[in-house]
């Protein structure tokens, strides 16, 4: 049974079809969240919240985008909500665990430096960079997901890339 059949059945109220669909996309969503949050524990929490939202909104999926894109959009909004909540509570800080993960890995030094710089950027700035340059989403899609104007997305990405380039050049010098 393919995705389209599972989605149709899930929208008709078939709980097993919906559970199968979520099982199939659980790890892709988690992987996506790891790449935008840089934090595996947070990604796990947000994946579960994304699944709950997907269950609540399955009836609203219109099939205009791929199902994975629809889930990634929900996951992105969950992450942005989390960021807003953290800012309200003034608790946002880079988690030490993920820094260690990169420290231990056998990545080339310049890749490790790039990742460190990316993680050091404010999250709302790093997010569009990853969505554009890693996932290849359009400015319009990113703007819609982040609920900000397209111009803001473009300027955030432009400034972030410039900052990252400058940082790498300084490290080389």
């Amino acid at each position: 049974m393919d995705d389209a059949d599972l989605i149709r059945q899930a929208q008709r109220g078939d709980q097993t079809a919906l559970a199968r669909l979520l099982q199939q996309y659980y790890l892709p969503v988690k992987k996506y969240l790891v790449t935008i949050t840089f934090d595996r524990n947070l990604a796990e929490d947000l994946t579960q919240e994304t699944m709950v939202r997907a269950i609540q909104r399955i009836g609203q999926f219109e099939g205009r985008a791929r199902f994975s894109t629809w889930l990634f959009a929900i996951a992105t909004r969950q992450y942005l909500d989390w960021l807003r909540q953290q800012r309200r509570e003034r608790q946002l800080q880079v988690r030490a665990g993920e820094e260690l993960l990169l420290e231990r890995s056998d990545l080339a030094p310049e890749v490790r430096r790039l990742m460190a710089q990316l993680q050091a950027l404010p999250r709302e700035i790093a997010l569009p960079v990853v969505l554009k340059h890693y996932y290849g989403y359009t400015y319009e899609e990113i703007a819609e997901w982040m609920e900000i104007p397209v111009g803001t997305v473009k300027s955030r990405i432009f400034n972030a890339v410039r900052t990252l380039r400058k940082g790498l050049d300084q490290d080389h010098a």
């Binding site: 559970a19 992987k31 790449t35 699944m51 709950v52 269950i55 080339a108 890749v111």
Partner: protein, 96 residues
């Protein structure tokens, strides 16, 4: 470089297994049940408020029929004038 770094960061997820179907089925069941209960609560709240407003209107009509009819008339005329003004303004703006 970005691809290499993010691939490496997310690589451990590839070695994980998704939750089992039973657990997800339970989650789907619980979330949908909670959603149905929430909808039912909303419907009950709506019906209660509607019943309150209707019974208030009914009580006013029986107690003070004249005032009630005058108020109804004023409301109807006021709304009609308001709608007409709103429509006309819309047309003027669209002509400009």
């Amino acid at each position: 470089m970005l691809h290499e770094g993010l691939d490496r960061l997310s690589a451990p997820v590839d070695e994980e297994s998704p939750p089992d179907l039973g657990a997800l089925l339970m989650l789907v069941h619980n979330v949908q049940q909670a959603q149905r209960q929430e909808l039912l609560r909303d419907l009950m709240r709506f019906l209660a408020v509607a019943a309150l407003i209707l019974s208030g209107g009914l009580w006013a009509m029986l107690q003070f029929p004249l005032y009630y009819l005058v108020t109804q008339g004023v409301l109807a005329v006021g709304l009609t004038i308001g709608a007409a003004v709103w429509q006309t303004e819309g047309r003027w703006i669209s002509r400009e």
